[in-house]
């Protein structure tokens, strides 16, 4: 039904899509997979009319289509649900269902439109929602479903869903999945971009893998396993997601005694040793990241005290904690992790400006060597140096956001969500680099809502629920089930 041939897309000198072939048939769900930076988003944006390729043809039902704007894309029957939702929260649900639809005419009463919207909402499992309610009262998953209802209302023949479940919980994911099945059941060709393995095997008929801008022939999902799929994406075997743990206990680096601050309902006491990785497991708002922020000095200490290398420590702000050799990386790299409009070396040297300057003057030679040193330690390709950080893929941005702290030679690294929005390959690399740093004597504390990650990366685990530390345990003794239980049903676990 849809056939893309020899698609070439360049950003400046960088080849993002190199003669990519891609085809989907009506009624099938096609997974589009690949590491960050492989070209998935670019390919679907070309279909959505948001990017224009330098070469290649797009055919729908055998007719060549020239898609040069979102309008062309609509006209060709393509519907696109972007990662960042295009829902207007301040409008009623029915308005969002028909957003951008110009065929409704001038006379449009809310009641008539609501009635028209109802069947579309029902078919995506939102039958219980009154189309007249305001969209802001809906959950993220429900808003996602409203977008899918919009595709139905437009009678889109090709639906593109770009990581629709990235921010959703398991129960919510199930609703999105059934809506996707509805779409495919109506003869729609669905292109499903995701990083999540379970959905691929559960939902899709075939998988197209992109690797470094090259496409590979589509594979039948039923002939694949998780391991073979990861190998396809990486182009090599992934031996071990998580590196081996360290052994040998060293002296205590940081001691928290009964500390409390914003986001924590009960005092927290914790120890962490040099060379150790402490993983704090907890969902959003559980207080796990509040502990990191207290240590970093971005939120004030309400009670309790901290000992750093045995001496009292009470940071007032980031500069304080940075002087004490503490590096802090928040969970939102776009917001405060990277300088999107500046080059990679400028990003990497940002916390270490004193090191690369003398008497107030910068040394570009030192900056370059610092950037090369960090890049070699953190697996950042030096060919990215002339690129703006904002133009890198999510995985590389995360490496830059984390790696920039190596420049100040920290002795305590605090990381929130170390691999949010990072693909499998880059994720394994980040784990390996963090472990190497710990082996070199660095003490690392990270907070994560990914149970697997906490269990795999940490030496010791602390579980958080509702602003309280549930317990700490050795990662070797912990199980995924136990951690999941702790972070969701704390009362049971504590009883």
């Amino acid at each position: 039904m849809l056939r893309m041939t020899n698609i070439i897309k360049k950003y400046g000198p960088t080849l993002v899509l190199d003669e990519v072939q891609f085809a989907v048939e009506a009624g099938e769900v096609m997974a589009l997979m690949g590491e960050n930076g492989a070209g998935k988003s670019t390919l679907v944006k070309i279909l959505a009319g948001l990017e224009i390729p330098q070469a290649g043809t797009i055919e729908i039902d055998g007719h060549t289509k020239h898609i040069r704007s979102p309008r062309d894309s609509h006209a060709a029957g393509i519907g696109y649900v972007a990662q960042e939702l295009s829902i207007v929260p301040s409008l009623p649900v029915y308005e969002n269902v028909f957003l951008g639809d110009n065929t409704l005419g001038i006379l449009r009463t809310p009641r008539v439109l609501a009635k028209k919207a109802k069947p579309f909402l029902e078919s995506v499992g939102l039958g219980n929602i009154d189309p007249l309610t305001y969209t802001e009262s809906l959950s993220v998953a429900e808003r996602q479903l409203v977008e899918i209802a919009r595709l139905l209302s437009r009678e889109a023949r090709i639906a593109i869903l770009d990581e629709p479940t990235a921010a959703l919980s398991d129960a919510e994911i199930a609703r999105v999945k059934s809506a996707v099945r509805t779409l495919a059941g109506r003869g729609c060709a669905v292109i499903y971009v995701t990083h999540r393995m379970p959905e691929v095997f559960d939902l899709t008929d075939r998988v197209t893998v992109l690797r470094n801008g090259n496409s590979f022939p589509a594979l039948e999902t039923k002939n694949l396993t998780v391991d073979t799929l990861i190998e396809e994406m990486l182009g090599r075997r992934l031996d071990n997601m998580f590196p081996a743990r360290s052994d040998g206990l060293q002296e205590i680096k940081l001691q928290l005694s009964g500390v409390r601050g914003a986001g924590l309902r009960a005092p927290v006491s914790l120890n962490v040793r040099r060379g150790e990785i402490l993983g704090l497991a907890g969902q959003v708002g559980s207080g796990a990241s509040s502990v990191l922020r207290l240590i970093a000095g971005t939120i004030p200490l309400a009670e309790g005290h901290m000992l750093l290398d045995g001496a009292a420590f009470r940071p007032k702000n980031i500069s304080n904690s940075k002087q004490a050799g503490i590096a802090y990386c928040s969970d939102d790299r776009k917001h405060d992790g990277i300088f999107a409009g500046r080059s990679v070396p400028e990003n990497l040297s940002a916390p270490a400006l004193s090191i690369i300057s003398r008497a107030g003057f910068l040394s570009f030679g030192k900056e370059r060597r610092l950037a090369e040193y960090i890049s070699s330690r953190f697996g950042i390709d030096a060919s990215y140096f002339s690129r703006l950080a904002g133009n890198l893929s999510g995985g590389n941005q995360q490496k830059v956001a984390l790696g920039k702290w190596i420049g100040i030679n920290p002795n305590l690294l605090l990381v929130e969500e170390p691999t949010r929005g990072v693909d499998v390959g880059a994720r394994a690399e980040i784990y390996r680099h963090l472990r190497e740093l710990a082996n070199a004597g660095l003490c690392i504390i990270f907070a994560s809502s990914d149970t697997q990650e906490v269990l795999g990366l940490a030496d010791r685990v602390g579980t958080f629920f509702h602003g309280e530390l549930v317990r700490t345990m050795d990662a070797a003794d912990a199980t995924v089930q136990q951690i999941s239980k702790d972070v969701t049903h704390a009362t049971e676990a504590m009883a």
């Binding site: 940002a350 400006l353 300057s357 910068l362 040193y373 060919s383």
Partner: protein, 328 residues
């Protein structure tokens, strides 16, 4: 331990060359626009291309240009621009005239720069503490203008200082002092932004203030320093003006704020911050002066001149906006 020379990678050098080529292309583009304009204008009016007229243009660009160069620190640091420059100029002019007539030129000069730094700090700390540079500088502008009127008793303050007169009217090597100082300011400020730690901090804070704070940079310090640069630049302009005419008044530079901002914008410095260089502000000032000069020589009325310069600013903002979209 990263400071070992042997791990230089050729690929990284290639990358930096690509970046250099990009900068070069932008510079060449700017020069082409100017040369093309000068050539066309020269054909239609031969006076335009005479050496004398070139001096006139640079001299005309100097006063606005010095302030625009200083103002670019604010824009690059992500604080848009100040609406207090003209009023601060008036206050500084009065302060310089009063102190010079009382204590002589050298002490007057020192005191005036002291006042300029204080005015910069006051604005910088206010903006760093309470945010919005537009509202804050609008209010400070009123304070400065009012205080200038109070200090001068609303009358003309005259000075009689040969040193000041030399500063205002001399032509070392045939070029007016104003133009020398303009070019010097452009060079020094370019070097500060490009080659110093403070300059880099300014760029980073403008690029992403949240990431800058998270990296341990001191935003309040950077904002304050940007305002101090802006105030000192304004002071240099005001002192040169007083020196030239040997007098100061509280209503000096009235309505000039747009000219300063226009030079920054026509120079192509992004209002979003974190990009650009003071050199661009200097070029912007020269470009506007060229245009103004051409229109004067051809007898355009003042209303028409104003319309055209305004339209140029609108065009500049639009063109740079579109170009940024393309580059990404």
């Amino acid at each position: 331990m990263f400071l070992t020379k042997n791990d230089h990678q050729p690929i990284a050098n290639e990358a930096s060359q690509a970046a250099k080529q990009r900068h070069l292309r932008n510079a060449v583009l700017g020069l082409c626009v100017m040369t093309a304009f000068a050539t066309i204008a020269g054909f239609s009016n031969p006076t335009f291309t005479t050496v004398d007229n070139l001096f006139v243009v640079i001299r005309a660009a100097s006063m606005t240009g010095i302030v625009a160069i200083a103002m670019s620190f604010l824009t690059i640091s992500g604080n848009l621009f100040a609406l207090s420059a003209s009023s601060l100029g008036a206050l500084i002019a009065v302060v310089f005239a009063v102190t010079t007539s009382s204590f002589g030129f050298p002490i007057g000069l020192a005191l005036t720069f002291g006042v300029a730094v204080l005015c910069g700090l006051a604005q910088g700390i206010t903006v760093a503490g309470f945010g919005n540079p537009i509202i804050a500088t609008l209010a400070f502008g009123t304070v400065f203008r009012g205080f200038a009127a109070y200090l001068s008793g609303n009358s003309i303050v005259r000075i009689d200082s040969p040193a000041a007169l030399w500063l205002g009217t001399a032509r070392p090597f045939g070029v007016p002092t104003q133009s020398w100082i303009f070019m010097l300011c452009a060079l020094v400020c370019w070097a500060i932004i490009r080659h110093t730690k403070l300059g880099r901090q300014t760029i980073l804070c403008g690029s992403n203030p949240h990431a800058a704070r998270a990296s341990g940079l001191n935003l309040a310090f950077v904002t304050s320093s940007a305002f101090v640069f802006m105030s000192v630049g304004t002071a240099i302009m005001a002192i040169l003006n007083v020196a030239q005419f040997s007098q100061a008044k509280a209503d000096l530079f009235w309505g000039y704020d747009f000219d300063y901002i226009a030079a920054v914008l026509v120079g192509g410095i992004a209002l979003s911050g974190g990009k650009g260089s003071p050199m661009q502000a200097a070029l912007g000032a020269i470009l506007i002066a060229l245009l103004q000069n051409y229109m004067l020589l051809n007898g355009f009325s003042s209303g028409l001149r104003m319309t055209i310069v305004g339209a140029l600013v609108v065009a500049a903002i639009s063109v740079f906006h579109i170009m940024q979209g393309k580059v990404r």
